[in-house]
Assembly symmetry: D2
Homo-oligomer: 228 residues x 4
Amino acid sequence: MEHSKAFLLINFKTYLEATGKRAVELSKQIEKVGENAGIKVGVAPQFCDLERVAASVDIPIFAQHIDPITPGASTGHVLAESVKAAGADGTLINHSEKPLLLADIDKAVQLAKQTGLNSVVCAGTARLAASVAVSEPDMVAIEPPELIGTGRAVSKENPEIITDSVKRVHKVNPTVRILCGAGISTGDDVYTALKLGTDGILVASGVVKAREPEKVLASFCEAVLRVE
Amino acid sequence: MEHSKAFLLINFKTYLEATGKRAVELSKQIEKVGENAGIKVGVAPQFCDLERVAASVDIPIFAQHIDPITPGASTGHVLAESVKAAGADGTLINHSEKPLLLADIDKAVQLAKQTGLNSVVCAGTARLAASVAVSEPDMVAIEPPELIGTGRAVSKENPEIITDSVKRVHKVNPTVRILCGAGISTGDDVYTALKLGTDGILVASGVVKAREPEKVLASFCEAVLRVE
Amino acid sequence: MEHSKAFLLINFKTYLEATGKRAVELSKQIEKVGENAGIKVGVAPQFCDLERVAASVDIPIFAQHIDPITPGASTGHVLAESVKAAGADGTLINHSEKPLLLADIDKAVQLAKQTGLNSVVCAGTARLAASVAVSEPDMVAIEPPELIGTGRAVSKENPEIITDSVKRVHKVNPTVRILCGAGISTGDDVYTALKLGTDGILVASGVVKAREPEKVLASFCEAVLRVE
Amino acid sequence: MEHSKAFLLINFKTYLEATGKRAVELSKQIEKVGENAGIKVGVAPQFCDLERVAASVDIPIFAQHIDPITPGASTGHVLAESVKAAGADGTLINHSEKPLLLADIDKAVQLAKQTGLNSVVCAGTARLAASVAVSEPDMVAIEPPELIGTGRAVSKENPEIITDSVKRVHKVNPTVRILCGAGISTGDDVYTALKLGTDGILVASGVVKAREPEKVLASFCEAVLRVE
């Protein structure tokens, strides 16, 4: 089955519902929904769960962060090579809950490239999205921090930030792909986001904290199919 | 076989020699040396390696850090429950390469207790060791940052800092155990550290970056036996 | 006129009501109220206002923070010598709005001593108060962060935290003086705080944001006189 | 007398040679050299010295940093309004010794605009210079951190980084002015920097730590005159 162009990435954050064995179970459910719909889905579990999730599913797996360090004396830091060795395919960078210094965002993107990890750099405004696009990550995720976790989707609440981001990011870098995040909780939110010119979705509580995560994700997949 | 009272904890930092599969191999070697000598040894691998190391050996396993957070929206952070679910028995806190705000050290120690993780709080001076002992962690590790990774052992270079730390820490909290770190690279360093009143060793490059880690660790174990 | 033993320290934070010329005016009002009542009062203006305030009043002046640095290449940092040269007599350290790494709190306290600045180290709990007392600052200020700016005084809401702090701090260091902060807004709050064994008050919005700061401060002074 | 187009900005960092009264004296010397040569010079003293320097000279005065905050409960932070009230005309932002989160750089630039402060945002590489130019500060200063304080000028050691920065920055924003920093210590360094397309110099130790700061600065001014 052909995969969608759109990409749905589910961030597990540090939710207990997606910690340890439950990270594996949830990843399997997500994989199944994606397969059934023919939609490309990925997961971003916690560091300690990357390996067991990678061993259990065959979908893109992202770390939630890497530190701007090379191998050495960096106790407690997250090394790109370690994330890669655990089976990750990519990493989030500069999530609003784990913001980085400007110089460290750029370092992390370059380290991801060197290690063979796809990079998704998060940004809270159109201007910041353009700033991080300069570093040429694989993807930029637009997530206005004030909407994260609210269930009020940026694609509905503030569509201009998305269209403005798409325009500004592509001016800096026409090939970077753009994810839409913050408050996504319904298929309509997904549909709107894609219609505004984004290439996918970054979602967390909307799926992970849902009573029936598969159903919610299935509705997201249907929305993608309506667009494509 | 009875285990030693002394505890040798090997910190893998972000050394490539101790990343991914090599973390597992090194942990197995360490376990074997400890078993042969009847000495209690432990390892502190990177987050992504905790689970596979825990599945491969039967010695105490420590995370290198936990964040002062509870489950929720903390992308990219290290949750105590996640570390525990991966099979860790304990965690380092406030290593000089991952220093924490004062309030966060205390939070992390309490979170470790609640999650059933042993806590080793690092401190660079005798005064700071006494400060962190107030939070009643299981262990305090004295590591003057200026000696870390030098091969010049604190127990030789600056024995007063150890004796002073032991005295100050036990005044605040008589039951907390004390590890000696920074620059430990020979059996003599270990012997001296224990003779000065500490309960074990926190070591990284001295073992991990050694040409023959088993031999170095074996010499550490012999030193423990000479003392006990 | 003899001064009180109790000390009332007013933190100007970054309130516009206490910025620039208004910092000078407010400091003069505070000085006058203190003089009239014979109570020792002090102010903690912003860095840029230290010099003009020091040139205008003759009461203790505190910086709100110093960085743990010595002279050199530290653009944008706050040097103890600079604060001293501007006329400050002391400095807050580790305010909950400007928290420091454990090791940096200790460094800042030692730098304050070396520069001839009185140090007031803030702590949010009784345990943290005991931790910072180890560094032997001149004063420890107990300020539960959850009560700061609420108008609900710690001395009323949670008197045990004060009595517990006094006991724990004095066990570590019998000579350090203790200020009570967070939510202080009435003379009764001050009275209770002193009765619980503290040596003074650290207050911000309760005075600075009051419609009539002099009246509020006068009522604080009356409360001190009731105790002494 | 007409002023030069080029701008020479001297960063006082936290050097004792430029603290307190010595900040005033040095600023007066700098003003005099600039006046004599007809070159636009500015100074960036420490926060506590801004007011007395502003009261003593009539040249552009920059803070070394502002925090991304608005008036309120931000003890120990540097408020744009406070810097402005002290007499500053502008501020450095994101100096490599005081680096900021990406989102905070943008906030600080907008706050500077709103407060009527000129903004000079520092960046260590051409790519980062382009990133910060997106926020539309008044100036971008290129300072490779590895050359700061070395006396090895970026304009000589690594001229490509300057030409590349000029190109990338102007592509993003054609009107932003560009300063060249890091290691500038001779008139030749200044001449080269301007010839490479920059609009001025950001210098610290090269002037402040010189035996005869006026002579060094005079040689910088001569270099500007050779170019213009």
